[in-house]
Symmetry: C2
Subunit: 610 residues, 2 copies
Amino acid sequence: MPNNDFRHELAQQLRVDSVRASAAGGSGHPTSSMSAADLMAVLLDGYLKLDYANPDNPVNDHLVFSKGHASPLYYAMLKAAGAITDEELLSFRTFGSRLEGHPTPRIPPTDVATGSLGQGLPVGVGLALAGKRLDRLPYRVWVLCGDSEMAEGSMWEAFQHAGWAGLDNLTAIVDVNRLGQTRETMLGWDVDGYAARAEAFGWKAIAIDGHDLDAIDAALAQATSVTDRPTAILARTHKGRGVKAVEDQPGKHGKLLEEPEEAVEELGGARSLAVTVKTPTPGSPHRFATTGGALPRWEIGEEVATRQAYGQALTALGELRGDVVALDGEVSNSTMSELFAKAHPDRYFEMFIAEQQMIAAAVGLQARNWVPFASTFGAFLTRAHDFIRMAAISRADLRLCGSHAGVSIGEDGPSQMALEDIAMFRAVHGSTVLHPSDANQTAALVAEMATLPGISYLRTLRGKTPVRTSPDENIRVGGSRVLRNSDHDDLTIVACGITVGEAEKAAEVLDAEGIRARVIDCYSIKPIDGDTLVQAASQTRAVLTVEDHWPEGGLGDAVLDALAACPDRPPVRKLAVSAMPVSGKPGELLHAAHIDAEAVAEAARQLVKR
Amino acid sequence: MPNNDFRHELAQQLRVDSVRASAAGGSGHPTSSMSAADLMAVLLDGYLKLDYANPDNPVNDHLVFSKGHASPLYYAMLKAAGAITDEELLSFRTFGSRLEGHPTPRIPPTDVATGSLGQGLPVGVGLALAGKRLDRLPYRVWVLCGDSEMAEGSMWEAFQHAGWAGLDNLTAIVDVNRLGQTRETMLGWDVDGYAARAEAFGWKAIAIDGHDLDAIDAALAQATSVTDRPTAILARTHKGRGVKAVEDQPGKHGKLLEEPEEAVEELGGARSLAVTVKTPTPGSPHRFATTGGALPRWEIGEEVATRQAYGQALTALGELRGDVVALDGEVSNSTMSELFAKAHPDRYFEMFIAEQQMIAAAVGLQARNWVPFASTFGAFLTRAHDFIRMAAISRADLRLCGSHAGVSIGEDGPSQMALEDIAMFRAVHGSTVLHPSDANQTAALVAEMATLPGISYLRTLRGKTPVRTSPDENIRVGGSRVLRNSDHDDLTIVACGITVGEAEKAAEVLDAEGIRARVIDCYSIKPIDGDTLVQAASQTRAVLTVEDHWPEGGLGDAVLDALAACPDRPPVRKLAVSAMPVSGKPGELLHAAHIDAEAVAEAARQLVKR
């Protein structure tokens, strides 16, 4: 029999501490915390199995605050569970505190950062997939959602995928307090409306009064007993519950209580209740057997698409390492991750055309120490930009592959061409950006990505390119390849991916005209090989960059940055795609974009002339 | 009585022409076209009211191919409607043709580009909102959707918003052919499952056999008669319908038919049927009255947040121009678009926390010649990156405002800080990127944005900044402001937004030490004031940039690009946010990021020393 008196007192303490922490921090979202306090009190006291003293215990349940702005409540739970002191609680939002405005993994056992709405539930899907299919452990994933964030499409990507995958180890608790930041939500208190949606997406849905402790207990008990589908608890609540001045009042979102001390009194005063949170039954995660083998190798001169090399290298990596897993956005026969899927079906996740859910799932998998590689067309990774941004705040280690780079894809047209992906990924904190020009480079970089921290991005090509790099050459993150050089080079041409071949052809043409060009294959764009570039700039009279990307934020900008500090830097000219491309053959489009050999040669002549 | 014999022949012609166009173009998606041919034949013959000879007729219905890869079918419809010749049809996917791999507005009456799945329906919501609330015309919006794209969360943002708004002028026709690119979709042929989801989101749903001409007719008739909600027709179809070699076969996505001539024979041969498409009843769009007035002005020295200035300027613009409308992602009291909402409620669209739908709606509104300004936190515009990318391909004129830029927001933490937005927007084709440092600059730029083509982005600050710019100064896109200079400046400091004040303070400190700094307020980042920067670089011994943004793709890279061609350019150093920020006071975070006055002064000393 649950002790409702204790749970009520605990809920009141969570409210009090939400008010106190926010007041101490000088800002925060106390009212959004107060609405969910009863829900979290019952979860913490009766259902969560989380060894707070051992955040790395593999059998721990996972609790994700998808409504990250309810961080005061989250931290109040940490205090009640004994994971932080009251003193640390009151450091909320101050410089240096682990208790940031929205939760981040800086405070264990937080798996991921939240605060951009609509991301916690999709990440929860990833954690639940890890539990079911990889770790094969009985942990549960609990996600506290806000009702405002139900407007985000990514929530419905999560509902779809979890319903389809039958993730009965996932429970969404939706705090339906009706009031958004400026107004009532679209559905208001219509918990039955939410329930109908959840059921239509294949979930068990339970609508309750989110302040009725017995109803909450019954709903959580039911959630743990459903065995074929995830459960959504739609809890009707009052924002600011428990303090008359703010309860169910509009205009109180993200605002401190005006009279926090009176509010604490109204809530029954400060308490120091400690909860003994259940700990899970010990267990060990499943490990996949490895079969050994080696990375693929290609002979110089072979014609291979780098996307094909990606697929082959990833498949080989899966044989070498049991922790490597792959995800794809239903284009695996384009990105070539299908090779991994066929070789390692247990470690392949089909995410369908839902790029946000794909990235979120990868974030969830890596939080459980798996090594995910996720792929789709490079253009469509823009769909998940906010998820990639947040993954960096989550300190996630992600490996992403974007295929079909640039105008060189040809007939499909601009909607399918990645032309901003380098810019996007360069501007991700702590990222690595790679764009190999041939198959052997690709294989070496894929292997290195598996051990890289942070978010690494590999850009691959649709069409075949000749293998120029020996499989034994030292290809590495931060490296580059000098294709041709001499002691008397007139200019430096820096290229990557498809434009390496164009630069090489141009150099041959120029050579016949007496213009000597050094050609650098800059396959590592971030970090970039600054030493080689600075040396080339100091030894030649001009630098020409050429890339199949918009002019902003790509290779050219990365080279300019590498040369920024040089006082004696020669003029730099960037060739890039500056007009909106259309459909056509790859060669026609490279020509129209002025990034083919002819354009490179002409730009080189002009640069050397002046 | 509809003539089913004619409609069947028309549908077969659409199939034949899809096969012929794809074969002529050498690639394409004929099987994805063939599944929807019966649906489109009945629509074209009986329901669509579109004056193909006058694409700008304001009363025209709108037809959006959300499954843009079915472009062969779309172009086959244009031929049947007499909008293009058979010769042009066969130019599909060839260089120079208007018939690109996926539809774009290059071929009228196409409103928007599609090809990134899950975007056509959200844009359709925008067109339907324009019809209901702005134009106040009885046109209908028809959107052909694929079943694979139902996995995209953005589709459910559209279902939610359209259901909530009661858009009975919107019909989604979902071509449930069950087969995605590599496998069966999550729901397969479960049209009732889709119908349950649509109904749960407030739509009328009709599940039919998508090859039964009578059922299609009945469903379209019903869609036009429902008066309080949008309608979704869930049509069970066969991919590749009509040609045994490909019909309902896996592995045929995006592939040419191997024997196109035999396929045409099997479909009854080529035809040249012409459809007399209904034309709409003439009508004129509603116009909003203007009240005149002037842009807001602030006195030098006043303290005003640029987000506040945005709200006031936009409100004034709404009084000056009846075509200006505003959208917000449920943070209007943060972005301050709430001022517009209060002054012009008929022209304000609350899009709730669904940034993808917000951008798509704006794209739809501008396709009907309205002038939308859409706002949310700059960080959350990353959520809509793919929609912004596609808007550029749609040749859309959009004005976007992202508030809460950088670490200067303070306590809320990194999830709420825009630190990659400049990089993202610079790499949008044809974009304009603006970051004013005070209120008068903001007002001038907001006014200019209303007349700018393409996608323009205004970045605003959470905190107050002092007004430094006279309301009468010439502030313009492509301009900059030299805050201080002399004939003997030692170095140039380039700043924008919050860092302008830091640069100014640093310059004063440096001045006392005998180091003269020129300070440039680079409020227009793209286009950038290259002349002023080149001149400053040539007149000083070093350039220092300072920005509240990641180091990649922002102000610093834009300045480096502006100076790229200079042979005598001095060293450039970029100050930017390079470590992951945490919570804290704005001043603490600017200091920790090394972008405050102290860091600027120290970097300046080092630069001048060497």
